[in-house]
């Protein structure tokens, strides 16, 4: 077990030194054309109900309060801009989608699925980050799973009496981690290891992403707490 | 030999989108003087300033501070930024802290000064800019003029040798504009070199010791205000206007109400006195 870990770690270490340090987090979203047609379609089908519910709940609020549209527009732009900032992390600076956790806590997970989807479109089109055929898969991980986890963790942590700071940290960090777990799972499902199957593939992808994403999730958690604290003082 | 605190030699800079903002720009800022940099919108003033404290690195050419070439290593950049402070144009996009006190302490704290020293500097900067009573106010609740003062205090608290101010009086009403200029006079009297950019010719004419005219990424004229603003051609090329004091003076001389060769009046009182003498 120990040696297996070591082999995996060495493998991952060499890869990360080679590829990850000098660049930013393109490892985050699944790239254009990477998923086979059928999987691209399945993930699209899976996000449609969430987008639909999200749009319906937004429309309901807008009917009562038309200014929400501007607020969501600005919030979406805010989240996009954050994702393009470099955040300091143990493995160097990485650009990263903060704001998903923050948004989920503030606007609720359904709204975030709509905003997440739009932000991902712009990341694909303006930054070549992610893609259109993989939009379904990426929206599912970043716009559906991430926000739901963040929102649920925040609620549970607050209910169980955790201090606000820790609740925010856990919500942001876990939402982040689950996003990457989902991405790994999506890749593993599409590309099962020819001999080891889906499970082996999942372990491979999780191993690769862990190097960058665990420290990033922690950094992002801390950053979200810092932001929350500053916001509380406003 | 004159003593220059900042020099730009053949500075060229092109933004990633292809806009060529500076084209072999040369200028030398005299130490301890009040310098105004004049030019229309988009002439390259702000880009120049970002070079003077090392935020932007020139594509070609050099910046000298205190006679030495600026190196773009981490340490020397920090040293430069400690000594050359910039107050940016739009206070709204510059203030980022929750309270005025926190905002002003940001710079000195980052310098790694002891808390006591920081407190002292913040107090001093607030007194100098006359914003003591705003100490605990959230920055986004301030009026435009107050925000402007906070951004100046931000930089003063770092005690730079050079204070650069981008369009300090835009959007300020006459009263607050006057107060701001008085503040710069005081800062200058305390030995700091003050540089400001503006397209308000009247302001530059009355306030500055030395003026640079920037147009299309180049310095196209420089000198003492009376010299620069007597050059009709220069002013026209730079898309500026003549200061009204100069205009009126010219008119009076033309009409024979004033003798030629008198020193140009620098402010309303000067003009008044000139006319009384006649």
């Amino acid at each position: 077990m120990k040696t297996r870990k070591m082999v995996a770690l060495t493998f991952v270490y060499i890869l990360s030194v080679m590829l990850l340090i000098p660049q930013n987090a393109y490892a985050m979203h699944i790239m254009e054309g990477f998923l086979p047609m059928n999987w691209a379609g399945i993930w699209f089908a899976l996000i449609i109900p969430f987008i639909f519910l999200g749009l319906r709940s937004i429309q309901k609020t807008i009917n009562i309060n038309p200014s929400l549209k501007m607020l969501l527009g600005l919030a979406g732009a805010f989240a996009f801009v954050l994702s393009s900032l470099k955040i300091p992390s143990v493995t160097g600076s990485c650009s990263h989608p903060t704001g998903v956790g923050l948004g989920a806590i503030m606007f609720g997970p359904m709204t975030m699925s709509v905003l997440g989807c739009i932000i991902l479109i712009f990341q694909a089109v303006l930054l070549a980050h992610g893609g259109i055929t993989t939009l379904g898969a990426n929206t599912f991980s970043m716009g559906v799973v991430g926000p739901i986890v963040s929102y649920a963790v925040f609620r549970i942590a607050r209910k169980s009496g955790a201090p606000l700071g820790w609740s925010v940290f856990l919500a942001a960090a876990l939402g982040d981690l689950l996003t990457y777990l989902t991405t790994s799972l999506q890749l593993a499902l599409a590309f099962p290891d020819p001999s080891g199957g889906i499970l082996a593939s999942l372990i491979k992808f999780m191993g690769v992403f862990a190097v960058t994403q665990v420290p990033l999730a922690i950094s992002e958690g801390i950053l979200t707490v810092v932001v929350f604290n500053v916001l509380m003082n406003y | 030999m004159a003593d220059y605190i900042l020099e730009a030699n053949n500075l060229s800079y092109t933004y990633p989108d292809g806009t060529q903002a500076l084209k072999e720009l040369c200028l030398k800022i005299p130490r301890g003087q009040k310098t105004a940099i004049l030019g229309s919108n988009g002439a390259g003033k702000s880009t120049l300033f970002l070079h003077l404290n090392g935020i932007l690195k020139p594509k070609s050419g050099t910046v000298k501070f205190n006679g030495k070439d600026v190196a773009y290593g981490r340490k020397s950049l920090l040293e430069l930024r400690k000594n050359v402070g910039i107050v940016f144009q739009d206070p709204d996009s510059q203030l980022f802290s929750a309270s005025v006190y926190q905002e002003i302490s940001f710079g000195p704290l980052n310098l790694g000064l002891a808390e006591k020293t920081v407190r002292g500097r913040v107090e001093q900067a607030m007194t100098a800019t006359g914003i003591n009573e705003l100490k605990d106010k959230p920055t986004h609740m301030l009026s435009y003029g107050q925000k402007k003062r906070v951004t100046i205090a931000d930089i003063l608290a770092m005690e730079p040798q050079v204070l650069i101010c981008d369009e300090p009086t835009a959007w300020l009403d006459p009263k607050h504009a006057k107060q701001t200029l008085q503040l710069f006079d005081e800062i200058s009297q305390n030995g700091t070199t003050v540089i400001l950019s503006t397209h308000d010719v009247d302001l530059a004419y009355s306030w500055a010791d030395y003026v640079f005219i920037v147009s299309d990424g180049r310095v196209i004229g420089e000198g003492t205000p009376d010299k620069v603003f007597s050059d009709d051609n220069l002013i026209r090329i730079a898309d500026l206007e003549k200061p009204w004091l100069v205009d009126v003076y010219d008119l009076l001389v033309k009409k024979g109400f004033l003798a030629v060769n008198t020193d140009l009046p620098r402010n309303k009182e000067d003009l008044y006195n000139l006319m009384l003498k006649k």
């Binding site: 054309g33 690769v208 | 970002l50 996009s93």
Partner: protein, 263 residues
């Protein structure tokens, strides 16, 4: 940072109907992914490179830099897929592998072939995306979405977000500049603090801006719908014929490949 956006407005295919450009990009992309044939992927890469550098006149240097962007994800992904893990030990078809305590990590011949195919396919699809995003401004893409009857709320939000990305980005840059010129990123600890303040300030400014925007739009009669008109484009029969010819050629090549007549 957003130079793709800049080219979208200045490229030589700017005046072509956005629907034509979108159709060309997406049909080609679907062929590339759908057929999943390395030869087709290669053809698509060459075709799009030609379209981007030729008719659209994007500088070739820019094209190569953009194509290198997705390489890191692609390499990580592809290498991860090429590497196999098994408990059965290495056998026939394995090129290399290490076995430690019963678990074999290594590379198989079929894995490499598969990985190269995936690499080309993805790069082909990315080329198509680049063609679209380098020639078609986002506002025109949403205009196409309007024509295709996407939910109007979705489109309105997309347009708003697009517009304010640039406003917020400028603000973020200004705050960042102001912070760095005051030693805000002089150390790791400073950086975290500064970035937190930047984020919070940006958020507060976003809230404030949304209010002023609402006020301004209300004064122009906004009551919940952001109706706008888009400029009219003329459909070019020539372009449609060119697209049809190219796509048919690709399809025929693919079918011949699949049936084994060529390749």
């Amino acid at each position: 940072m957003l130079n793709i956006d800049g080219f979208a407005y200045t490229n030589s295919l700017r005046q072509v109907h956005p629907l034509e450009k979108a159709a060309f990009a997406f049909i080609t992309m679907f062929m590339c992914i759908g057929f999943s044939l390395p030869v087709i992927s290669g053809l698509v890469i060459v075709l799009m490179a030609f379209a981007i550098v030729g008719p659209a006149r994007i500088p070739i240097k820019v094209y190569f830099r953009l194509m290198s962007l997705p390489f890191s994800f692609l390499l990580i992904g592809v290498v991860t897929i090429a590497v196999s893990i098994t408990t059965k030990g290495s056998g026939a078809g394995w090129l290399a592998g290490i076995t430690i305590s019963g678990i074999t990590v290594g590379i198989t011949y079929s894995g490499i072939i598969y990985a190269i195919g995936l690499f080309l396919k993805s790069l082909g699809a990315v080329s198509c995306l680049y063609f679209l995003s380098l020639t078609t401004p986002a506002v025109e893409m949403t205009a196409v979405m309007r024509k295709l009857k996407f939910p109007s709320l979705f489109i309105e939000l997309t347009d708003l977000i697009y517009r304010f990305i640039f406003v917020m980005l400028a603000t973020a840059e200004e705050i960042h500049t102001s912070q760095s010129s005051r030693w805000g990123y002089a150390s790791m600890k400073n950086s975290m603090k500064s970035l937190g303040q930047l984020t919070a300030a940006l958020f507060v400014k976003a809230l404030h801006r949304s209010q002023t925007l609402y006020t301004a739009l209300s004064s122009r009669g906004y009551t919940g719908q952001l109706n706008v008109l888009t400029p009219e484009y003329t459909v070019s029969v020539n372009n449609i014929i060119i697209i049809a010819v190219i796509e048919s050629a690709l399809t025929i090549t693919a079918i011949l490949l699949e049936m084994g007549y060529i390749g």
